[in-house]
């Protein structure tokens, strides 16, 4: 007998056509899967009743692998084959991994695709494959819990994930046979779980303190669309650090020296973590620590003592909060809601300090470990079609502007940052030289004006442009960003119809701090950038003028110009050519104008001649 769920009015499905959807929080430390059943979103436990799945995959020499608690438990003895925190490697290239890899215990092997592979006893695996194994376990759990195959899933990603990291996440889902309805930003998912998307417009701060990472995001809700205004954080700060300071305090109290072995340290950390968790409800917790010589030390840790120990760590999370607010150009008073995410936000002191900082009491009703998965499940339910049509569809925005390189190394932004997705924008470009038959397109991401300060996403060429005079070809470049924030670029020459396109694939990535830095730089360098852009624009214009003039002089200079006229024009051009190398955009502009003035008569004569040529043999009537 099938087990049924309650549908929304009029949304019952035919047998075997249930639109089963799930939300997946694919986390650095732990992952979760959630679903909406009978209108209620909740995370799905495994057969042992565990909701969290440690994001650890252990590869065995037999070619088999285990995922979750079993893999995590083995990580200490078998670190090389137990892959944890693989999320940090998603969408990263070999070069990035060289810097990141130093902190990770795995052995990396280079590969042809530019994606790093990790060497394990069970063979070489890519970060995408490791993530797919985690997703596979979650998919199986969801399908057993929901009684059927999943129609689609929503997977959450950090707001600072760039295109490559998002694409890698999508690839992992594909490998795990999952249909991704949408990738959703983690802070957005948390806000959705609290139903904030259904509320009035406002600014929301999402404070996410996990086991090992801290993120803060400032979101603006505007007509049902969440914009990520700013993100900041610390990739090496979390609940584990609290455990370490508590363990340090216990060692001091119990007179345990720094020479404690690994086993003793692990036990101390476990005791510290347990004490921290107990102090969420209790005011004091008794400690009973087994010392190396077999004797026991007994003591107590009070809430007040704990607060004192962890205050410096909490303070470390508040400076990114301040930074995010500054980047967003907002004040504390602008924040209308604060949402708490991550297990470490259960610590009462954290809630207290965050509340004081943002001057409003943070949202804590939903389990902070599950809130992101729950928000994703709610979104998946809507996207799968289980809600009446009038229910709003949540939209997301692109985090950094997308554009292409134009002459002079400038970026022409085609889709500005914070545009809601999906989106498609086109812009027309033209050729720079006479008879130009190909065009190189360089797709860039970033807020600065110069290509050299931006991130290069892809390069491709449009070939087969019919030879025409400079400026006559019409090349339409279309940027298309799908609902997951993935980019496709097409260039099409309109008169001939030749076209070329590219899909942005993961090659190498940016770290979250780099994205942050890029955003911040664009603001601090706004003035310099504007100057640099003006200069480059004038230089490009100067090149174009000189190029056009030389080509004209070569064809009919003899015909239309007296020697002195020609000398004057050439002098003006030479002056322009020398100024062009300088950095005074105003001087270049004046020199361009001087060339144009000097050659005005010549241009007029050429034009008359061309018109006469074109009209020769035609009666005036022909042109009416």
């Amino acid at each position: 007998m099938a087990l049924l769920q309650i549908s929304e009015p009029g949304q019952s499905t035919a047998p075997h056509q249930h639109r089963l959807a799930a939300g997946i929080d694919l986390g650095t430390t732990n992952s979760l899967v959630a679903s909406v059943r009978s209108g209620q979103a909740d995370t799905l436990p495994d057969a042992e009743g565990q909701h969290l799945l440690p994001s650890v995959v252990r590869y065995l020499p037999t070619g088999e692998h285990v995922v979750g608690f079993e893999a995590k438990a083995a990580a200490a003895q078998d670190p090389l084959n137990s892959i944890a925190s693989v999320k940090r490697l998603m969408g990263r290239g070999v070069e990035d991994v060289k810097t990141l890899g130093a902190q990770l215990p795995y052995s990396f092997v280079p590969s042809d695709s530019g994606m790093p592979r990790i060497h394990t006893a069970g063979g070489d695996v890519s970060p995408v494959e490791v993530s797919a194994e985690i997703l596979n376990v979650l998919r199986a759990r969801a399908e057993l819990s929901l009684g059927g195959e999943l129609t689609g899933v929503v997977i959450t990603v950090p707001a600072y994930f760039d295109d490559a990291q998002r694409q890698a996440t999508k690839d992992a889902a594909k490998l795990a046979n999952l249909n991704v309805l949408r990738l959703l930003n983690e802070p957005t998912a948390a806000a959705v779980a609290y139903g904030l998307d259904q509320k009035n417009d406002g600014v929301i701060a999402v404070y996410d303190l996990g086991g090992g990472t801290f993120d803060v995001s400032i979101l603006r809700l505007n007509k049902g669309v969440f914009e990520v205004l700013a993100t900041a954080g610390d990739t090496a700060l979390g609940g584990d650090d609290m455990d370490r300071v508590i363990a340090g305090w216990i060692m001091q109290q119990a007179g345990i020296g720094d020479d404690a072995d690994h086993k003793q340290m692990r036990r101390l950390l476990r005791d510290a973590c347990a004490a921290k968790e107990a102090l969420t409800d209790a005011d004091s917790v008794a400690l009973n620590i087994e010392l190396m010589n077999g004797s026991h030390w007994e003591g107590a840790l009070t809430r007040a003592q704990l607060n004192e120990l962890i205050d410096p760590l909490i303070a470390q999370t508040l400076s990114p909060c301040r930074r995010a607010l500054r980047d967003a150009g907002l004040k504390v008073a602008d924040i209308s809601e604060v949402v708490m995410v991550g297990g470490s936000t259960r610590v009462p002191r954290v809630r207290e300090r965050v509340g004081e900082f943002f001057k409003c009491s943070p949202r804590v009703d939903i389990d902070p470990d599950k809130v992101v998965a729950i928000g994703a499940a709610i979104q998946a339910d809507v996207l799968a079609g289980n809600k009446p049509d009038d229910e709003m569809l949540l939209l997301d925005v692109i985090p950094l502007s997308l554009g292409i390189e134009t002459m002079g190394g400038l970026i022409e932004k085609i889709i500005p940052r914070n545009t809601t997705i999906p989106v498609s924008r086109a812009q027309d470009f033209t050729t720079f030289k006479d008879g130009q038959t190909a065009m190189a397109l360089h797709v860039c991401q970033g807020e600065r004006e110069l290509v050299s300060d931006s991130r290069s996403l892809a390069r491709f060429e449009l070939r087969g442009i019919p030879p025409m005079v400079a400026g006559a070809a019409r090349i339409r470049v279309t940027f298309q960003v799908d609902a997951d924030g993935l980019l496709g670029v097409t260039a099409r020459e309109e008169t001939s119809g030749v076209q070329a396109s590219i899909q942005v694939k993961p090659s190498y990535g940016l770290s979250d701090t780099e994205v942050e830095t890029m955003l911040r730089d664009s603001m601090t360098h706004a003035h310099d950038d504007m100057g640099a852009r003006r200069l480059r624009e004038q230089q490009v214009e100067a090149d174009r003028v000189i190029e056009a003039l030389q080509s004209a002089l070569a064809t009919d200079g003899e015909l239309f110009l007296a020697d002195d006229e020609r000398a004057r024009i050439e002098a003006a051009a030479a002056e322009l050519d020398s100024l062009r190398r300088g950095d005074d955009h105003r001087a270049i502009k004046r020199a361009i104008e001087a060339v144009e003035k000097a050659s005005a008569d010549y241009v007029a004569r050429r034009m008359d001649a061309n018109i006469r040529k074109a009209m020769a043999g035609h009666a005036v009537e022909d042109f009416k």
């Binding site: 007998m1 099938a2 087990l3 049924l4 769920q5 309650i6 549908s7 929304e8 009015p9 009029g10 949304q11 019952s12 035919a14 047998p15 075997h16 059943r37 009978s38 209108g39 209620q40 799905l44 436990p45 495994d46 057969a47 759990r141 057993l144 819990s145 929901l146 009684g147």
Partner: protein, 107 residues
């Protein structure tokens, strides 16, 4: 003529209604579809239609339209678990046979 809920089912329905924040009760129904003729409908109710019959079981309003009632009379709705899966079960005395999956039936 009656439709009932087990106590477990009623508790679940009450919780789901509270969580949803709106709705007057639970609609049970059948529609002609599926591999074996009929399929069950289980939906939240925001508006009761004039022709609907309303039962009350353990404090939950159960709403059925007269056409469906002919196929459902005497049904007891239960809530149960099978492995990781959990949900509502129709114990319907009118059913002659069900398809293999139990999602559709014949009377």
């Amino acid at each position: 003529m009656a439709i009932t809920l087990t106590e477990t089912a009623a508790t679940r329905v009450r919780n789901f209604l509270t969580n949803r924040g709106k709705g007057v009760g639970l609609r049970l129904g059948v529609k002609t579809t599926g591999c074996s003729g009929m399929a069950y409908v289980l939906e939240f109710v925001d508006a009761v239609e004039p022709e609907d019959q309303v039962f009350e079981s353990h404090g939950v309003k159960v709403i059925v339209n007269p056409k469906s009632l002919a196929y459902l009379d005497g049904t007891e709705l239960d809530y149960g678990k099978e492995g990781l899966n959990e949900g509502f079960k129709f114990n319907n005395p009118n059913v002659k046979d069900t398809c293999g999956c139990g999602e559709s039936f014949n009377t």
